[in-house]
């Protein structure tokens, strides 16, 4: 992403990135490093529907703006995370970033908003698995990828600073 794009706060993918930063506790550079921002954005649109994703990102953009002014995360928490409408999607989105898998939205959500064919538990892609944030949060590496090298497991563990 270029600087102009980044500064364009209404661009949905920028909103998606900013929202992801708040949800995961990983900064923009770390998330970009996974190479997954666009893939996860597309996955969200595909799995909850473009209209619903549009509403979510609109609400998120407004909340993030408010939080920027007030220097806290209150608006995001009360208007998005604790929202009946968006809350369940937020849970799936956090897990998508952390685990690389999509976890389906609850029945009560689908009753109101309908569901897409893809809204079932699945590993989104091998890359999404490998880049799951849970591994670095644990100070480890994904099982079966990004081998840390011979003998690394004997060394004292270190957590990357959060």
């Amino acid at each position: 992403m270029t600087t102009t794009e980044l500064s364009n706060r209404s661009d949905p993918i920028v909103v998606f990135t900013d929202l992801s930063v708040e949800l995961t506790g990983y900064d923009r550079v770390e998330l970009a490093g996974t190479g997954l921002i666009e893939q996860h954005y597309d996955t969200l649109l595909r799995l909850i529907g473009e209209r619903e994703a549009g509403h979510l990102l609109q609400a998120a953009a407004e909340a993030l703006d408010a939080d920027r002014k007030n220097h806290n995360g209150e608006a995001l928490r009360t208007r998005v995370i604790e929202s009946k409408l968006y809350g369940p999607v937020i849970i799936s989105l956090i897990k998508l970033w952390y685990l690389g898998s999509w976890y389906p939205l609850p029945g009560s959500y689908a009753d109101v908003n309908g569901s897409t064919a893809g809204d079932v538990e699945h590993v989104v892609s091998a890359q999404a698995y490998r880049e799951g944030l849970v591994w670095s949060a644990a100070g480890a590496h994904p099982m079966g990828a990004k081998a840390p090298g011979w003998g690394s497991w004997a060394e004292a563990p270190a957590l990357p600073s959060a």
């Binding site: 480890a140 081998a147 497991w153």
Partner: protein
């Protein structure tokens, strides 16, 4: 003996499940029967070891003998090049449930058991099976489901083994004499020792340090237990492994420090007290490390530079991405590269020839045996399938020597289907595994979980001793992958922390979530208490007309339970764990979704593998150690094969694999099985008739 042929076409197909593209008809292949020196059924480590050993030993005969060998493999030809192998790694990464068979999809025609299919049959009041659990490949008759799987693909189950390579202890070979339990083996530890050395050096490639093997029952001196007779290779008999030990994990060292000096005390029958000094011991393993002089590690198939040393991918089960861990493809690859199945080219010296045919399901052992009499094997019939809509093609091949190496359970079903080699009535019986009890806790400190090979150390203290006359021995494996096995972590840890299942609101997110995960995940640890199972004739694999697969092969029908002798060790393992956790400062009982240092062990009664003993519920898991269905022994009335794994009934048939082991001990069985297969290979090489298959002196046709 054509009446023994499994009929797949025609009238009998009514009992057959037809799936997918399978048409059910079988085309006979045209022409006469092909003849080989040796036909081997099964392209796993057992078959590969016999092939390699026979070839190398027969070449040293005078005059040299260069056999032509056919290996029939039921599954698909797994990747024999690095790029194709990568697709299996991808398949693992994309699998939702990362179970042992997840990277290796079965074919329609060669189904395989899967741990996801384990469910419990419904038993009647009288102890008989009311409703078998037959949702997977196995037909589980109970009372307990058999909890292990295997892979049906070229390379076999070592594709997804962990690679632990412990030798048996001397007393494991004489359980009856020493403890009045089980049976004695027809061979001793000392007799098998040279073959252990060859298995460690020539087939698997084992990394370990002799000095760090603190086993009971070896007189306190590992150097003596490992002392070699091969003084040419090991001056003064001072044995060393081909590679240095794989470093112990930080977790191992942490536990060693915390448990230093701990002596576990357990109460036995009649108030007898047993004490076990706890010492953490680095585990020998078939995983590449720094070579010792004279050894060259074997890297990835088709890309030898890769996998020269373990890189800490932490996915040995189910797939080592770089093939630092041994798998049987390595041995098979060596064979097909060194001994291609073709006439020698101009100027080339004559050498052995190996043909590997995948998607060839052995369906019948043709033979002349009459009930209670000896006979001869006259051919192996197999079905070559393509799963492309065309029917499988049936063919029969002949050989001077036949070898079954299809894994303990498949060897048994094949023999039972063929009504072969079973005068003793022991085929399929004495099925054993290491029922595995898990205990797990959250440590007070960051011990660096989720790093390194699945396990690097264990606690050998309980593997031998006088307690074995009243209850079974057990091995203790320390796991490096947190709660991956008992609690599906890190997935379930994330679910717990994010929460919101009922409310639709995430409880924890952002930096707080990231931080909390860092406080919990690296502190998770688990121990597997792997119990020795004793041989019982009622634990058995049988076949039944009602249960066949899409090719018309009999599916394994399994009766399985744990004896009183095994069950009596469940409370012992649980108590030993309690004493250890207490010492680690995590004695307090805690349950998810709460997270604080403590003992998280719990066994729910509704688990398919729940076992009760003395009013307490435990669960056991399968260890993947499928053993004992064609036991070896001197007496043909009570055993299927002799000490060379030769069938008592059919002297030109060798039945190899873990199925031959009369008792299990507490070692993972593959190293011992490989040593036995080398011994068998030597024996076959010495006995092969002097003509070669290419130019048979006599026409051997049935």
């Amino acid at each position: 003996m054509h009446e023994n042929l499994v009929t797949v076409s025609g009238g009998k197909s009514g009992s057959m499940k037809t799936t997918g593209t399978q048409t059910g008809g079988v085309q006979p292949s045209g022409g006469g029967k092909e003849h080989f020196d040796i036909v081997i059924v099964g392209g796993g480590i057992a078959g590969a070891t016999v092939a390699k050993t026979v070839i190398e030993q027969a070449a040293t005969r005078s005059p040299a003998r260069h056999p032509r060998i056919l290996i029939l493999e039921a599954g698909r030809a797994t990747a024999m090049s690095a790029d194709k192998y990568d697709t299996y790694v991808q398949s693992y990464q994309q699998a939702l449930a990362k179970v042992p068979n997840s990277p290796y999809p079965p074919t329609v025609s060669a189904p395989q058991p899967d741990v996801l299919d384990i469910s419990r049959p419904v038993m009647g009041e009288d102890g008989t099976t009311k409703i078998p659990a037959d949702n997977g490949y196995f037909v589980q008759m109970g009372p307990l489901p058999f909890g292990s799987d295997y892979a049906r693909a070229l390379g076999g189950t070592t594709l997804h083994w962990l690679g632990t390579c412990l030798r048996l202890l001397p007393n494991d070979f004489r359980m009856d004499t020493e403890y009045g339990r089980g049976v004695d083996w027809p061979i001793t530890y000392d007799e098998l020792k040279p073959y252990y050395e060859r298995a460690e050096w020539d087939i698997i490639g084992v990394s370990a340090d002799v000095g760090h093997q603190y086993y009971p029952g070896i007189g306190g001196d590992p150097a003596k237990y490992f002392k070699s007779k091969n003084t040419g290779k090991f001056p003064d008999g001072v044995y060393h492994f081909p590679m240095e030990e794989i470093p112990s994990s930080f977790l191992d060292e942490y536990l060693a420090k915390k448990s230093a000096g701990l002596v576990v005390t357990l109460k036995g029958d009649l108030g007898r007290e047993y004490t076990f000094p706890i010492k953490i011991s680095n585990t020998p393993v078939g995983r590449n490390s720094t070579p010792t002089p004279g050894y060259q590690p074997v890297g990835a198939v088709g890309n030898a530079d890769q996998g020269q040393r373990c890189e800490g991918n932490s996915s040995c089960i189910p797939i080592c991405p770089v093939q630092a861990k041994y798998n049987a493809l390595k041995t098979l690859y060596e064979l097909i590269v060194k001994y291609p199945d073709r006439e020698p080219r101009e100027g080339e010296k004559e050498k052995a020839r190996v043909a590997v045919r995948s998607q060839c399901m052995a369906s019948n052992v043709e033979h002349t045996q009459l009930p209670k009499k000896q006979g001869t094997v006259t051919g192996i019939t197999y079905l070559k399938y393509s799963d492309d809509g065309s029917p499988p093609v049936r063919a029969t091949v002949t050989a001077d020597v036949y070898v079954l190496a299809a894994n303990a359970i498949e060897n048994a079903t094949l023999l039972l289907a063929s009504k072969a080699a079973n005068s003793s009535g022991e085929v399929g019986r004495n099925l054993m595994d290491h029922p595995l009890l898990l205990t797990w806790g959250l440590l007070e400190d960051n011990a660096g979980a989720y790093r390194g090979p699945g396990s690097t150390s264990g606690i050998p203290a309980f593997r031998d001793g006088p307690h074995r006359s009243e209850r079974t021995a057990f091995r203790v494996e320390i796991g490096n992958w947190g709660w991956n096995f008992p609690e599906n972590a890190p997935y379930d840890t994330v679910h717990d922390l994010v929460g919101g299942a009922g409310t639709g609101t995430a409880q924890l997110y952002g930096r707080a979530l990231r931080k909390r995960l860092g406080e919990i995940l690296p502190n998770q640890f688990r121990i597997a208490w792997e119990l020795e199972q004793d041989p019982e004739p009622t634990n058995r694999v049988t076949i039944d007309e009602r249960y066949k697969d899409s090719l018309g092969m009999y599916r394994p029908v399994i009766h399985y339970d744990l004896s009183e002798y095994v069950r009596a060790s469940l409370p012992w393992a649980a108590e030993a764990s309690r004493q250890l956790f207490e010492r680690l400062g995590i004695g307090a009982e805690v349950r998810r979704p709460e997270y604080k240092p403590g003992d998280y062990t719990h066994w729910d009664a509704n688990d398919p593998s729940a076992v009760t003993y003395d009013g307490q519920t435990y669960w056991v898991r399968g260890a993947g150690h499928v053993v004992g269905t064609h036991r070896m022994g001197e007496d043909p009335e009570h055993s299927v094969v002799d000490g060379y794994q030769r069938s008592h009934d059919l002297p030109n048939l060798f039945i190899v694999g873990c199925g031959s082991m009369p008792t299990l001990g507490t070692s993972n069985p593959t190293l011992t099985m490989t040593a036995l297969a080398i011994r068998t290979g030597d024996h076959i090489a010495a006995q092969l008739p002097t003509h070669t298959a290419a130019q048979p002196k006599e026409k051997k046709d049935a």
